[in-house]
C-alpha cells in the first residue's frame, strides 16, 4: 500500500464483524429470543452467516467483494449500509453511502414519482431546500417524461429503476455500493448509468462492487475481499485476491470433474495421468502469464495398439480456447511399458491471459475416430496485465511517421 493511499481519508472501517441469525422455528422461540435479547444475552444455537470480517475503505480506493452465492456478500452490504446491525465487531462509517442495490425499494407505490423523490430523498438525507433545488436535475436524469406525476404503481420496472438511479446520482455519495453492473433499463439508460459511474470514479468517488466478474472487479477496484461461507478468505491487492479466488475455484471444479469422470477401467484406451509442469496431483497449479506449460499424459492401451491423444484448453466457464490432436501434428507417444504410452507436449510462452483454465486430455483410438477417456486438470494463470479477453495476440502499434 502506498503512502498516498494511507493518507486518503478513511471512509469505512470494519473490525472483526460477524452476523448470527437466530433459529426461530416456533412462536415460543421468538418469545424466548426476545427475553434473551432484553437481558443482552446472545442467541442460542445461532446460524453464523458472517464472521471475522475486517476491512478498510479509503477515499478513491475501490473495493471489490467476490465469493460464491451464499458467501455472505449481501449480508456484508446490508451491514455497511446500516440496514442490518452486526452481532459482533465494530462498524465505523464516516462517509455518505449510496446503494445502487434495490433501486426504488423505498418507493411508495401510491405516490407520484415527484412525491417519491421527495420521500426517498428525505430518507437519503437531502434537506427540503436541497431537494427543491435538485428536483429538476433529478427529473431530467430519470427522463421518464410525463410519468413523473403518475403514481409509481403504474410504472414499468425500468422506470422505477431510472427514478432510483437518478436519486442516487443526485446524492453523489462518498461511497457507492453496487452489485454486478447495472443490467436494467434500456441500453441508452444503461450507457447513461455507466457513463455516470465512470464520471463519479474519475471525480474521486469510491466504489464497493460486488461481482462475479473478475474482469469488472479488476478493472474498477484497487483492493478485493474474498468471502467464503461467511469468512474472509482473502483481502488485499485486487490481483492477488482474484487469483487466489480463481485458483480455489479451479481446484474445486477440478475435484468435481475428477469424481465425475473417474476413469472407467476396462476401456480400450485410458488416460492414466495428466501432469501439468510435472505436477500430477489433483490440486490446480498456477503459472505466470507468458511462461511455459508442459503437459505429460500417460495413456494405457488395452490391446497394445498405439493410442492417439486429443488435447484441449478451456476457460473455467467452459469456453474452448484451443484444441489439437496428436495426429494433426503427426506426433507419436513414447512407449513406457507393454501397454502404457507417454505424450509430452510443451507450450513455450503460453499466451493465456490471467484467469482460471482447464487442460483436458482425451484418449483416442489410432484412427482418431472415437474418444475413450477424459481427464482434466485445472490451472490458474497469474499476472497483472489489464488486457482483455483470454489470449494475448501478438501485435504491434504502427506509428505513421
Amino acid at each position: 500500500m502506498s503512502t498516498a493511499v494511507e493518507a486518503a481519508p478513511l471512509l469505512v472501517r470494519l473490525h472483526d464483524v460477524g452476523k448470527d441469525y437466530p433459529q426461530v422455528a416456533r412462536a415460543s422461540d421468538r418469545l424466548r429470543a426476545m427475553a434473551r435479547l432484553l437481558r443482552n444475552a446472545p442467541h442460542r444455537d445461532p446460524i453464523t452467516v458472517l464472521d471475522g470480517v475486517s476491512l478498510e475503505i479509503h477515499a478513491g480506493e475501490s473495493l471489490g467483494v467476490i465469493g460464491e452465492n451464499g458467501a455472505g456478500k449481501s449480508t456484508l452490504l446490508k451491514i455497511l449500509s446500516g440496514v442490518l446491525a452486526p452481532t459482533r465487531g465494530s462498524v465505523e462509517v464516516r462517509a455518505s453511502i449510496g446503494a445502487l442495490l434495490e433501486l426504488g425499494a423505498g418507493f411508495n407505490p401510491e405516490l407520484s414519482g415527484r412525491d417519491n423523490i421527495e420521500m426517498a430523498g428525505t430518507l437519503m438525507g437531502f434537506s427540503a431546500r436541497e431537494l427543491a433545488a435538485r428536483m429538476d436535475e433529478i427529473v431530467e436524469f430519470a427522463d421518464i417524461g410525463r410519468w413523473i406525476d403518475e403514481p409509481v404503481k403504474h410504472y414499468s420496472s425500468g422506470m422505477v429503476v431510472r427514478l432510483g438511479f437518478a436519486l442516487v446520482a443526485a446524492r453523489r455519495p462518498q461511497l457507492l455500493i453496487t452489485d454486478e453492473v447495472l443490467a436494467v433499463g434500456d441500453e441508452a439508460f444503461q450507457r447513461k448509468c455507466i457513463r455516470w459511474i465512470e464520471d463519479y470514479l474519475a471525480g474521486g468517488g469510491t466504489l464497493m462492487l460486488v461481482s462475479h466478474s473478475m474482469f469488472h472487479v479488476q478493472k474498477l477496484c484497487r483492493r478485493a475481499l474474498w468471502l467464503d461461507h461467511g469468512r474472509q478468505r482473502g483481502y488485499g491487492e485486487v490481483y492477488d485476491v482474484t487469483q487466489q479466488y480463481l485458483a480455489f475455484q479451479e481446484r474445486r471444479i477440478a475435484a468435481q470433474e475428477e469424481s465425475a469422470t473417474t476413469s472407467l477401467s476396462g476401456q480400450e484406451f485410458e488416460v492414466r495421468e495428466l501432469a501439468l509442469n510435472g505436477a500430477a496431483q489433483q490440486t490446480a497449479i498456477s503459472i505466470e502469464a507468458g511462461s511455459a506449460l508442459e503437459l505429460r499424459i500417460d495413456v494405457r492401451s488395452r490391446d497394445g495398439r498405439v493410442p492417439a491423444l486429443a488435447l484441449g484448453i478451456v476457460r473455467a466457464d467452459g469456453t474452448a480456447v484451443y484444441g489439437v490432436t496428436s495426429a494433426m501434428d503427426s506426433a507419436l507417444p513414447k512407449r513406457l511399458d507393454d501397454d502404457t504410452w507417454r505424450f509430452l507436449v510443451r507450450f513455450d510462452a503460453l499466451p493465456l491471459l490471467p484467469g482460471g483454465y482447464l487442460a483436458r486430455a482425451h484418449a483416442m483410438d489410432p484412427e482418431e475416430l472415437r474418444l475413450f477417456d477424459t481427464m482434466e486438470r485445472g490451472f490458474a494463470v497469474r499476472g497483472s496485465t489489464r488486457e482483455l479477453g483470454m489470449v494475448r495476440l501478438s501485435h504491434e502499434w504502427l506509428i505513421d511517421a
Binding site: L37, L38, E102, A105, G106, N108, T122, L123
Partner: protein, 261 residues
C-alpha cells in the same frame, strides 16, 4: 440511536408524521374538512345520546354538564389509545422499508404517535371552541396547563408505543392483546363517569391507574371541577417511567428487528 437526535432525524420524523397524516385522509373527498367536522359531529352525537336519550347526569358536587365532562376526557384518551394501537404495528408494517433503507427506526413509531396526537389535539381544541360557543364557561388561563398535560400524555404514549412496537416484532399476538387491554383500560378510567359515582371504598383504587390523573387534571384545569389528589403525581412518573422503559426496550431490541421481521 434514540438518544442522539440530529436535524436529519427531526426532518425524518416530520416527514413520516406528514405521511401518516396524509395516508389518513388520502382518498377521502373532504380530506382535511373531515378532520375538522368529525370531532364536532361526534360532540353532537354524544350530546344527543347521553343528554337527550340517556339523560346522563353527574353526581352532586360535580358542577358541570355531562357533554363537556365527557369530551374533555374522551379526546385525550382517543389520542392515547390510537397512538398505542397504531404504534404497536408500526415497525411490522414497515418491514419491507426497514430491510432496504437505513433509517432511525424509532421515527416510524414516533411519527404515528405524533400524527394521532396532532389529529386529536386539533380536535380537542375545536371541541373546546365549540363548547365555549354553546355557552360552556372555560378557564382559558387553564388552557396552557391543559396543553401541558396533553403533551405529557403524548410522551407517555410515545414511551409505551416504543416498547409495544419493539415487542410486536417478536410476539405477534401483542397487537391483538393491546386492543383488548385498551378497551378494559378505557372503562377502568373515569372518562364516562366521575370518581364520585363509585362506592367510597373503591374510589382510591382509581389512583392506581395513571390515566385517572390525566383525565381528572384536564377537567380541573379547564373547568375547575374536582380537587388535586396525591395520585396526580402520575402526571410526572407515568411519562418518565414509560419513556425510560420504552426507550430501553426499543434500544435493546431494535438492533435485531431485521432478524425477526
Amino acid at each position: 440511536m434514540t438518544l442522539r437526535v440530529s436535524t436529519h432525524d427531526v426532518a425524518l420524523l416530520r416527514h413520516f408524521t406528514v405521511r401518516a397524516l396524509r395516508q389518513r385522509f388520502e382518498g377521502t373527498l373532504t380530506g382535511l374538512g373531515w378532520a375538522v367536522a368529525q370531532p364536532l359531529v361526534m360532540l353532537g352525537v354524544y350530546s344527543l345520546m347521553f343528554v337527550t336519550v340517556l339523560q346522563a347526569r353527574l353526581p352532586q358536587g360535580v358542577d358541570l354538564a355531562f357533554v363537556p365532562f365527557l369530551a374533555v376526557g374522551l379526546w385525550p384518551w382517543t389520542a392515547f389509545a390510537e397512538s398505542l394501537v397504531q404504534g404497536t404495528t408500526s415497525i411490522q408494517d414497515n418491514a419491507s422499508l426497514l430491510s432496504k433503507v437505513a433509517l432511525p427506526r424509532a421515527v416510524l413509531v414516533l411519527s404515528r404517535v405524533a400524527a394521532a396526537f396532532a389529529v386529536h389535539g386539533i380536535g380537542f381544541l375545536l371541541i373546546l371552541v365549540a363548547l365555549a360557543a354553546f355557552g360552556q364557561p372555560l378557564r382559558w388561563e387553564g388552557l396552557i396547563l391543559a396543553l401541558g398535560i396533553f403533551a405529557l400524555l403524548g410522551i407517555a404514549a410515545a414511551g409505551l408505543a416504543l416498547a409495544l412496537a419493539a415487542m410486536q416484532v417478536f410476539v405477534r399476538d401483542l397487537a391483538l392483546v393491546t386492543g383488548q387491554l385498551l378497551t378494559a383500560w378505557f372503562f377502568l378510567t373515569p372518562i364516562f363517569y366521575a370518581r364520585e359515582m363509585l362506592p367510597a371504598r373503591l374510589q382510591p383504587l382509581l389512583d392506581a391507574n395513571p390515566m385517572t390523573a390525566f383525565i381528572e387534571a384536564l377537567r380541573w384545569s379547564l373547568f375547575g371541577v374536582g380537587t388535586p389528589t396525591i395520585g396526580w403525581i402520575a402526571l410526572l412518573w407515568f411519562p418518565l417511567a414509560t419513556l425510560a422503559i420504552g426507550s430501553f426496550v426499543f434500544r435493546r431490541l431494535s438492533r435485531h428487528f431485521e432478524d425477526f421481521l
